[in-house]
Symmetry: C2
């Protein structure tokens, strides 16, 4: 099929109605594209900025089929879209990014294997499908190490750091006994992100590399440019492009990388990839010529990519739980660019909004 | 009443569902505020990005009252809100900008009288309420002159340029025989806009002055900075502030001014004011730190004003009628920031979108 640009007025389907879906919907609206959000939660933040909504479960094939039938392209805000849901949709309309990206990023074992094949360095890893695998896995990774569920982990959930064989055995039992992966600890100096966008015609662009810091396993801040050497930044961007190309990817891809400092130099290890707009790319809403949200929409609509150039050095700070209560103080700083997600209920650990601060 | 900041989750009511309402709604959503749009047209562009919609006439008092009862503040995208509608709303919730701004800007005679009282130079003008006024009016303005309806004119509608007494008499008859104003022709070198924002606590800020050019009486392009002297730009901003203060204004106010060049200097004559976000402020979406839409929302919500600083010189081009068919070409320029309004039907003279081009 020849690449085709969806005209204004086309309908973008969105699986997931959280803040990422909301920000993609706002970007789509600005381009004259309509949005239909599909989400099981009737209080989804994206619903109130979309033209149409479906409250439906991700395993309701009839609802998914009806939804897909009303959309010119469907995308998603989270990588845990069930494979069957992706199949139902892809049988009826365009699904972007495609099934390969979903399948690869849903399973840490598949993901790490893919990344290594694509030429990226990853932490040493081994599968654990039962207690019988424990010794062999430790033989690959050494100790301490991190044991993780292969699927459905995020923000530090579904993982344990273990320092001994006994602790690992206990963690394996606690995490379900199988479908696990053991990963070597990476002695990284800092974590960075490459936010890559790849068009339907295979053109790629990478935003300036961001430097991430976390609190309680949740992203707290992204700073652009990252405080790494120019060669490291270029290498991170090149890795991002290579991974997007290997997945024949369409849309925005988030790539998290560890920077290891040794012998006076810097080395990159890919931590994980996310087949979607990414929290560490939120700075682009104010700090780049085109936001990651708009570029994701442009890519999946078959449009050319907008400039990813940085306007000014930017720091993005997540507002988590009660931190968003400071909204009034934040608005008093005329340069603080406040973004709130319209979530009625604040809970500890819940992402309520973010602030971008530009150095211009 | 002490100034109060409406918290996130508050409902902004919007009279009018066109592109201005749509862009205000998008700005409100980014700040975590909800939007309820009221418009008679079921195909309103703003409906699809708002949390709630009412399809209602502007003289349906029951519908207006119900709408106002669900909103924490109500604003509007057009100055021709009927006085009675404004009263019904203001009796039930906050109306911003207030009734004085509406009454002043709805009637060219009231507006020009107000502007002169506020210390602004305006074109010589005189009312025409019947043929008996024609000679006296010409005595004030001279000929040629422009006769206009006092109310409901926009984009050159409801006005005629006249070169003779006979032509004026004919135009007066054609325009209804009364409720008219005759204005002297102003020999201006160019037209500029001051986009002013005034907070609920009386703080004002003015964006960099823009230079407007028109085609067929419709704004075609706004260029920032305007090609005028620094003193002229400062004087335009000062006039904008003075007018906003005199109206005890809350929100964004558009002030159109003529620049007259004579004797090696520049002089300003105020053409008209618009108590709302303004087409000549669309450049601020990409070219300023905070857009006029966000600053209008911030002001009416009782929030402090965001920075109005210019990021880079910007040219805004309106896409009128079939010009929007060039969307695919425009997207191929990675620096062109395309905005489309989601209007299904393109008609000659209809504003379909705009493009901002930044020189960075």
């Amino acid at each position: 099929m020849a690449p085709e640009m969806l005209p204004p007025g086309s309908v973008i389907g969105m699986l997931g109605g959280g803040q990422l879906g909301r920000m993609m919907a706002l970007a789509a609206a600005r381009l004259g594209l309509s949005v239909h959000v599909y989400c099981p939660d009737p209080d989804s933040p994206a619903f109130e900025v979309a033209k149409a909504n479906t409250i439906g479960a991700y395993d309701d094939e009839a609802a998914l089929a009806a939804f897909a039938g009303r959309c010119d392209v469907v995308t998603y805000e989270f990588e845990n879209v069930p494979a069957r849901a992706a199949e139902v949709i892809a049988g009826r309309t365009l699904l972007r990014p495609g099934a390969l990206a979903l399948a690869t990023s849903q399973d840490r074992l598949v993901e790490k294997t893919f990344l290594r094949t694509a030429g990226a360095e990853v932490a040493a890893f081994a599968p654990i499908d039962g207690t019988a695998d424990i010794d062999a896995a430790i033989g690959v990774t050494g100790l301490p190490a991190i044991v993780k569920t292969r699927r459905f982990g995020y923000d530090g959930k579904g993982q344990r750091k273990v320092e001994s064989r006994e602790a690992l055995a206990a963690a394996v039992a606690e995490l379900g006994g199988g479908d696990l992966i053991l990963e070597a600890l990476v002695p990284f100096a800092l974590e960075v992100s490459a936010i890559v966008v790849r068009s339907a015609t295979g053109t790629t662009a990478v935003y300036d590399i961001g430097e991430n810091s976390h609190a309680n396993h949740i992203l707290k801040e992204t700073r652009v440019p990252a405080r790494v050497g120019a060669e490291t930044a270029a290498a991170a961007a090149a890795l991002g492009r290579r991974i997007a190309d290997a997945l024949d990817y369409v849309g925005v891809l988030g790539v998290e990388l560890f920077v290891i400092r040794e012998g006076g130099g810097e080395r990159l290890v890919v931590n994980e990839i996310a087949p979607r707009v990414h929290n560490s790319g939120h700075w682009t809403e104010d700090g780049a010529v085109t936001s990651q949200f708009e570029n994701h929409v442009r890519a999946i609509a078959g449009w050319p990519i907008g400039s990813v150039e940085t306007i000014a050095p930017t720091v993005m700070e997540n507002l988590i739980g009660a931190e968003a209560d400071a909204w009034a103080t934040i608005t008093a700083d005329p340069r603080a660019r406040l973004h709130l997600y319209g979530k009625a209920e604040s809970r500890p650990g819940r992402k309520m909004g973010h602030v971008n601060r530009l150095d211009i």
